[in-house]
Amino acid sequence: MNTDKFIQIQDVEQTFKTAKGLFPALRDIQLNIAKGEFVALIGHSGCGKSTLLNLIAGLTTPTHGVLLCANREIAGPGPDRAVVFQNHSLLPWLTCFDNVYLGIERVFGRTETKAQLRTRTDAALAMVSLSHAALKRPGEISGGMKQRVGIARALAMEPKVLLMDEPFGALDALTRARLQDELLEIVAKTQATVVMVTHDVDEAVLLSDKIVMMTNGPAATIGEVLAVDLPRPRSRIALADNAQYQQYRKAVIDFLYTRQGHVEKAA
């Protein structure tokens, strides 16, 4: 298998039927993602970045074109492509433990004993430092903790790909920074392939190997792909003074606000 083309997106176009007629969300998307790569999708609101993520997840099917994961066509959602949802989407009637267990049971339930499944669940919660909250319900913990449970649920399934839809968007700046650091560590440990939707320039540069910048919708497409060649492990404090980091940051800001900014004003 060609590890440079772990996920292949070819000629993808997505059109939605709405009450006002057809709405072209995405056109002409070409993208390859390598195994173990961390890719950020960035763009203004409504540029279809979540639409693209949902396509990779298999939650929607493209109107035209094809998406491949590990050389197989993506025909529907599956536990090999775990999703961390923007609003965490934990089931409020289950404890944190049971929320994580639900995914683990689905993936490993046929081959492992109950005790092994429970060990996996404990390990997943420990990874996001939430062992103490295992028996709490989502309503009893903070927004940051809920998002961490969501990440634990996704990672515990040992997915080939981790898809994250603005996972830290609803959190305060300090919590967001802490979770970004945690995510960096986890990704370094698990070597996961990650696709993350974000609108935060710093987040994109700090976390990614590749930043996919999208033009404004409707009929959005990939405007530019920026390879982020910063050494890992990365530290946000060290990078703050790094000239290369600042260049990447400037390149993204330049794309978003100079070249794509005026379109939004016109809309």
Binding site: L59, G78, P79, F85, N87, W93, L102, G103, R106, G139
Partner: protein
């Protein structure tokens, strides 16, 4: 000091007491206005003490205590309602889950739901050849609609996020039903149950007036034939009281099973 402490107590107690006093006042005026053909609150009160002093006597099939009448009515409601829940809740689930079935059954429900359940009583008498099963059948018909409809609406309103979780995890239809649909729909279902029990309690009185036997509705009709208006008024209060208790109990159950943080 004492004054201050007692104010919230009086504010909580006095308005309902005034409301009750107003009702009894109007009742007394009507009693005077009709020259006693509607008995006065005082007379009715004395009669009530008499009726409630021995609620479980049995003097033949048509003369039993008020306790037996209420219990018999509650039993019919319980059986009819229970059967309706057994059929209606699963039906609501599949109608809510599968668009094809929803389109198939919605016209039927829309057509049959507005029909007064009493219109079904003759069909019940014909099919079951007995007054008691016919009354139960009427309760079944009137309580099934709120349960089917509320359960179906609940299933259709399960947040898309939860269904996306189910799709990403690739859960089986059974697992979706037990871990996502059922808990998410439970509050809607309990609303349906509450509406159904409320309607059933309304309908049982009318059904029993027509079918006879032992029951609170038949008791009202029997006392009308005896021209014992005092007992009719007592029956009205009993019916209201039982309805109130049922409603309160089901609201308590519903709040125990709803998740306030579903949106957060």
């Amino acid at each position: 000091m004492m004054n201050k402490d007692w104010r919230p107590f009086w504010l909580a107690v006095l308005p309902p007491v005034f409301g009750l006093a107003l009702l009894i006042g109007i009742w007394a005026l009507v009693s005077i206005g009709t020259k006693g053909s509607i008995p006065s609150p005082y007379e009715t009160g004395l009669q009530a003490i008499d009726v409630f002093s021995d609620p479980f006597y049995r003097k033949g099939p048509n003369d039993q205590g008020v306790g037996w009448n209420v219990l018999m009515s509650l039993e019919r409601v319980a059986v009819g309602f229970g059967l309706a829940a057994l059929v209606g809740i699963p039906a609501g689930f599949v109608i809510g889950r599968f668009a094809f079935l929803s389109r198939m059954f919605n016209p039927l429900i829309s057509l049959l739901r507005p029909v007064s359940p009493l219109a079904w009583l003759p069909i019940g008498l014909l099919v079951f050849k007995g007054a008691n099963p016919a009354a139960i059948w009427t309760i079944f018909i009137c309580s099934i609609w709120p349960m089917v409809i509320n359960t179906a609406v609940g299933v259709q309103r399960v947040p898309q996020d939860y269904m996306n979780v189910a799709r990403v995890l690739n859960l089986s239809e059974w697992k979706i039903a037990t871990t996502i649909l059922f808990p998410a729909v439970l509050p809607y279902m309990l609303t349906g149950v509450r509406l159904a029990v409320g309607t059933a309690w309304l309908v049982i009185v009318a059904a029993e007036m027509l079918t006879g036997g032992v029951g609170i509705g038949f008791w009202v009709w029997d006392e009308w034939n005896n021209l014992n208006v005092k007992n009719i008024i007592i029956a009205i209060f009993v019916i209201g009281g039982v309805g109130l208790v049922l409603e309160y109990a089901l609201i308590r159950v519903a709040t125990a099973f709803s998740y306030e943080d579903v949106k957060s």
